[in-house]
Each structure stands twice: as C-alpha cells, then as structure tokens.
C-alpha cells in the first residue's frame, strides 16, 4: 500500500513538473525572454511575442489548471485515494 502511494506521489510530481515547465515557457520564455525574436512573426494583427505576453499565456494558464484537474481525478481513482 505504501509503495503505491509513493508511486502516486511520484506521478503527481512528474505531471506537475511538466505543466510547470509549460507555464514557464509560455510566460517567461515566449512572453519575456524570446519576445523580441517572436515579434517578427504575426498572428492576425498581433506580433507573436506581444500576443503571448498579453493574451496567449493567460489562455494557456487556464487550460493548464483544467488539464491538471482532469489528470489528477484519474490518478486519484487509479491509486484508490479519491474522496
């Protein structure tokens, strides 16, 4: 029982890390560090880097949380720790 709880925790940590990497890439990466090179591309009337910084990153943030919610529900059931 203890072993599977360790596995549960590790899977949680791994998935969480993946999501946090995406979180960082889309905001600090595309929105700050690479904003100038990305601005050379356009999406509609938006320079791409600017779009990530002012809108795109926020959409990704919302999606990340809902994805986490769905994944954790499944993980909780799989390891029989759900409420």
């Amino acid at each position: 029982m203890k072993k599977s709880l360790e596995e549960y925790w590790r899977k949680n940590l791994t998935f969480m890390t993946v999501l946090l990497v995406i979180w960082a890439v889309v905001s600090y990466g595309f929105g700050i560090i690479f904003v100038k090179p990305l601005n050379a591309f356009h999406i509609g009337g938006f320079p791409l880097g600017f779009w990530f910084a002012q809108q795109g990153s926020i959409y990704v943030f919302v999606a990340l949380i809902f994805i986490y919610y769905v994944y954790m529900n499944r993980l909780d059931r799989k390891y029989d720790v759900h409420e």
């Binding site: 949680n12 979180w23 700050i32 601005n39 600017f50 910084a53 949380i65 919610y69 759900h82």
Partner: protein, 591 residues
C-alpha cells in the same frame, strides 16, 4: 434620467442585493464564519475568488496603466494571473486536505511551533493591512467620481456596508456577496469593452478586435496594433508593442516583477483562504481553474480596452482644435482627470511624450480663453500639452462608445463591487488572525463557539475601522505599498508553505529563519528604494521585483538551516503524508 440618478439607482440596487445576501447567509458558528461551512460549490467559489482578487485597481486603473506602458504592461497581465497555476498545482489541494481555518494555522501546525505561528500571523496582518489601505480609498474615490459625495463620506458608506455583510455572515456572507459582486463587475466591464471594440473594429469580441483592422477613421484598413505602433513613434513614445526599449523596464526587471507578482499571488493569505471553503480536494483544484477562467475574462479584455482607448485618445485629441474636441473630453475636464495647457497658443491640442506640467495638476476656477480648465502648475518645456489620468481610459469608455447613462452608472457599481469584494476578503484575514490564530489557538483554547464568534465579529469591526482610517488619511505611499504586499507574500509565505508540503525534511528552525531572512531582506530593499530614494542596487531590479530575490533567499536559508538541524518529529512527517492524498478531507475542522 441623468447619470447621477442612474448611478444612485444602480448602486442602491447592488448594495441592497449584497445586504440581502448577507442576511440570508448569516452564520451561527465559527465554521461558517471562517470557512463558510466548507460547502461552497467550485464554480461559485471560483467567482468569489475572482471578485476577491480583482480590486478597484484591476477594474479601473489596470487598462489605463497598460495603455501607457504598452508591452511592459504584460507584467501585470501575466503577473496577476500566472500565480493561480502555482496555487492550483502547488498549494490549494494540499491546504484543503489539511483542512484548517487560516494560513497561520497551517504554518503553526506544520512547523510544530507557536513562534512560527506568530511570525506568520504578523506577516498576514501586515500584508493584508498594506493591501486594504488602498481598497477603502478606492471605494471613496469611486463614490466621489460618480455620486458627487465627498471621498471621506464614500469611505464611511463603504465601511458600513462591509461591516454589515462581513460581520453578519463572516466568510459565508463574504463569499456569496462576492459571487454577486463578480457578476456586477464583469458585466459592467464587458459592456463598454464590447461596444468600443465594435465601434472601432467592427468585431464585438474585444480579444479578437484587439488584433483586427480598424474600420473607421483615417487609418481604416490597417491593423490596430500597427497603427498604434506608428502613432506612438510619431509622437515620440516607444512603439506600443516594442519590448525593453531604452527608458522602459529591462528584461531582467520585467522577469523579476512578473515572477514576484505570480509567486506573491500564491502567497497572499486572502487568496489562499479561498480554498478552504470548498467541499473537497477535487473541488479545490476545480475551483482554482474556475477562478482563473473568471479572472481571465477581465484580464484578456483589459489589454484590448487599453489599446482601443489609447488609439481613440490619440486619434480624436491630437491635433484637434480644443473647441472641436469630443464632448467626453469637456465632461471629464470638470473632474480634473484630463486637462489641456495651450503651450504654443494655437488653440490646438498637441499630445506627445513627457509630463505637460510640473507636479500634480491643481486647478483654478476661472476658465481659460477658449473655455478650458486652467491649471496653476508651471508648464514644462516639452511639447506635450495634454494631461491624462490613466483612470480615464476605463471611466470615459462608455461615453466614448456613445453608450447610454445607465451603462455609465453600471460602471460605477462595478468599480464599487470590485473594491468592496477585495476589501472584505482582506478584512476577514486581519480579523481571523487576531480572533482565531492569536486568541483561540494561542491564548484561550477553552473559548466557546459563541465567544469565538463574538470576538470574530468584533475584530471585523476593528479591522473595518482601521482600514477606514487609512481610507480617509491615506499614507502617501499607498501605491508603493502594494508592491510591498506582493514582495512580502512572495518572500515569507510562499517558500515555506511549498516546502512544507513537498519536503518532509523542512523543519521549524528552517522555516522560522527562512521567513525572517526573506522578509527582512525584501523589506530592507523596498524601504531603501521606495522611501529613502536609494538607487536599486541589485542588478537594477526594482522594488516591485525584489520579492523574487527575497523568495530565493527564503528557500536557500530554509533548506540550509533545515539540513543542519533536527528533522521534524514522526507525527509531522505523517501529517505531510496525509496532506498529499485527497481521501479523508473532511469538512474543514479546527481543533
């Protein structure tokens, strides 16, 4: 009917709604008072969290701030949303499983130390007080702009309303009124945004209109942002979408400020306690998602509003004869939020970069030769003749878009909803720090439910009075202290709560040293830069961004000290294990 009458109606109706909700949700026990009984559904909790989060600053000032900053405004857009991902993934589910009433509860229990609890409650009070100082003032200002009452009267009215619904209903009353307040504020924000987006680009969805072509005016057919870039450049400003231009914030500073705001968000007590009120761990995760969704509706609209308003302002005001200026300009001149000084005596308004006059504008009663409102300040030597307060960008929007009077009144009600919802959340943190964390948990464990409830209500009253006092006599540094609040939350709470959940080795000595090191470093730097006019000495990082460094200091000290002192006792390590699995999250309890 006049705008004033409509405003009385809108404000009266919305206040009546809040008081009705407060009456229906009046509480009889401490569980209701502190955590709303632990049964608020995730969607409703998300709406309440969103309202709690978005203050008068988000509602009124943010779009204006962004319109003057262009790309650099992203620090606020990303900084004030990204923290919710951190909350959802790193904090909310575990704190909900832990199931206590407040943040100092968690710190005190996890670090098996009353010293840690006291440090935490002092930080919580300080962070919340600095934050709430600005809110009550915001309430007063909205009242004075729209209802023609004096600012101080507005503060007093706001105090009375908050006292009633927070005192009657505690967290339960606060939560359900916040749901109503969110509904009011989001409708009030979106209607003018949709209208102005339609007017300028033909597309009603502001988020899309932002990236579309203009359909009116002499730039019709060109993309809005391209036009704005060109206009800015012509007038001597940096291009709107350009990043890190000389004179604007550096990449390092933008990085640090954004991170400090995100991490600070996840460390603010009044946000964290919003996750104690849902029925389960699952609901805590879902509630974070809904909260960010509802926040994002406003936060993705704001930059659109910012760019529409800036384009419109330049297009209709620059190189226009004063006497042909649009009526909204003349109307808002009376409030002192816009002003014109004819530096070259040509009767035309010229707009360019730099302040138009020295210091804050103060006005005289006699109008100038063309009917304009005259200022006593000395004109500066640059060519800019136009003074624009950034709050105009949202406040004047309904008139610019030609909307009827009831919409303008709704914007007033929305601004009040935003200010009151944030203030109430903060006041509960302050009150609970004294009545629950200090009195019940540390002084008198034998207090009855009734005594605790009474003390909680009394403390709400005290906190309202303190906040009201700051609203009436605002310390000159109100705007600066919000930077303080985020920096302190980032450097004190965030690291030790995260480590408390993810590392069993982190112990009492580490946490106390870490919190102290983080706060002292951050406070020291902020006081130097903001109050003593010292140049930012750490790589040019501003006071707003130094919380990032403070957070790193806290992590480093906490981990180092923990590794060389005794590990936490067995039952604390078991506590951490239990916090990591959702099953068994009962209704939030206290003991």
């Amino acid at each position: 009917m006049s705008i004033l009458t409509w405003t009385y109606i809108m404000v009266g109706l919305t206040f009546g709604l809040y008081l009705t909700i407060a009456w229906i949700s009046r509480v009889r026990d401490t569980k209701g008072f502190y955590v709303a009984g632990g049964g608020v559904p995730a969607i409703a909790n998300g709406m309440a969290t969103a309202a709690d989060w978005m203050s008068a600053a988000s509602f009124i000032s943010m779009a204006g701030l962004i319109s003057f900053l262009g790309y650099t405004g992203s620090i606020y857009l990303m900084g004030w949303t990204g923290g919710y991902v951190l909350l959802a993934l790193l904090l909310a589910p575990y704190l909900r499983k832990f199931g206590k009433y407040t943040v100092p509860d968690f710190v005190g229990d996890r670090y098996y130390s009353d010293t840690a609890r006291v440090v935490a409650l002092i930080c919580a009070i300080f962070v919340s007080l600095t934050y709430v100082a600005g809110q009550m003032r915001g309430v007063g200002i909205v009242f004075s702009r729209f209802l023609e009452v004096d600012v101080n009267t507005g503060v007093l009215i706001g105090m009375a309303i908050v006292f009633v619904y927070a005192g009657l209903g505690g967290m339960k009353g606060i939560t359900w009124t916040q749901v109503a307040q969110y509904s009011v504020l989001i409708v009030a924000y979106l209607i003018p945004a949709v209208a102005i987006s339609s007017k300028i680009t033909g597309i009603p969805i502001p988020q899309l209109g932002f990236g579309s072509q203009l359909t009116v005016g002499h730039d019709a057919g060109k993309y809005l942002l391209d036009t704005l870039d060109a206009l800015n450049k012509d007038l001597g400003f940096a291009e709107y979408t350009a990043a890190f231009v000389p004179g604007a914030k550096s990449m390092l500073d933008v990085f640090c400020i954004t991170l400090a705001l995100m991490v600070g968000t996840a460390g603010l007590p009044h946000v964290i306690i919003r996750f104690y009120t849902v029925p389960s761990v699952r609901a805590a995760r879902l509630s974070a998602g809904y909260a960010l969704l509802f926040i994002a509706i406003l936060y993705t609209t704001a930059p659109a509003v910012a760019s529409f308003a800036r384009y419109n302002m330049i297009d209709t005001l620059n190189n226009t004869a004063y006497q042909q200026a649009p009526s909204w300009f003349k109307n808002w001149e009376k409030t002192g939020l816009v002003a014109w000084v004819d530096k070259n005596n040509d009767g035309m308004i010229q707009y360019s970069s730099g302040a138009p006059v020295e210091g804050k504008p103060s006005f005289v009663d006699t109008p100038g030769p063309l009917g304009q409102r005259m200022m006593t300040n000395t004109p500066t030597s640059n060519a800019n003749e136009l003074f624009i307060d950034r709050d105009i960008m949202v406040l004047a929007n309904p008139e610019i878009a030609g909307l009827p009077a009831w919409v303008i009144a709704l914007v007033a009600a929305g601004g009040l909803a935003a200010a009151l919802s944030t203030a109430s959340g903060l006041l509960l943190v302050i009150a609970s720090s004294i009545s629950h964390d200090l009195y019940y948990r540390m002084i008198n464990r034998k207090a009855t439910e009734q005594q605790r409830l009474l003390l909680g209500r009394i403390m709400i009253g005290v906190a309202v009075c303190v906040a009201g006092y700051f609203g009436i006599h605002p310390p000159g540094f109100v705007a600066q202290v919000v930077a303080f609040a985020f920096g302190l939350a980032a450097s004190s709470f965030f690291p030790i709560i995260v480590l408390g959940i993810f590392s069993k080795r982190t112990n009492r000595e580490g946490a106390i040293c870490g919190m102290a090191a983080g706060i002292i470093f951050t406070a020291f730097y902020i006081i130097q830069v903001k109050f003593m006019n010292v140049q930012p000495w750490l790589l040019g990082i501003s006071a707003e961004g130094i919380g990032t460094v403070g957070m790193l200091v806290n992590f480093a000290v906490t981990m180092t000290v923990s590794s060389v002192t005794k590990a936490p006792p067995r039952e604390i390590q078991d506590l951490v294990d239990s916090v990591r699995t959702p099953r068994g999250a009962g209704a939030a309890v206290d003991h």
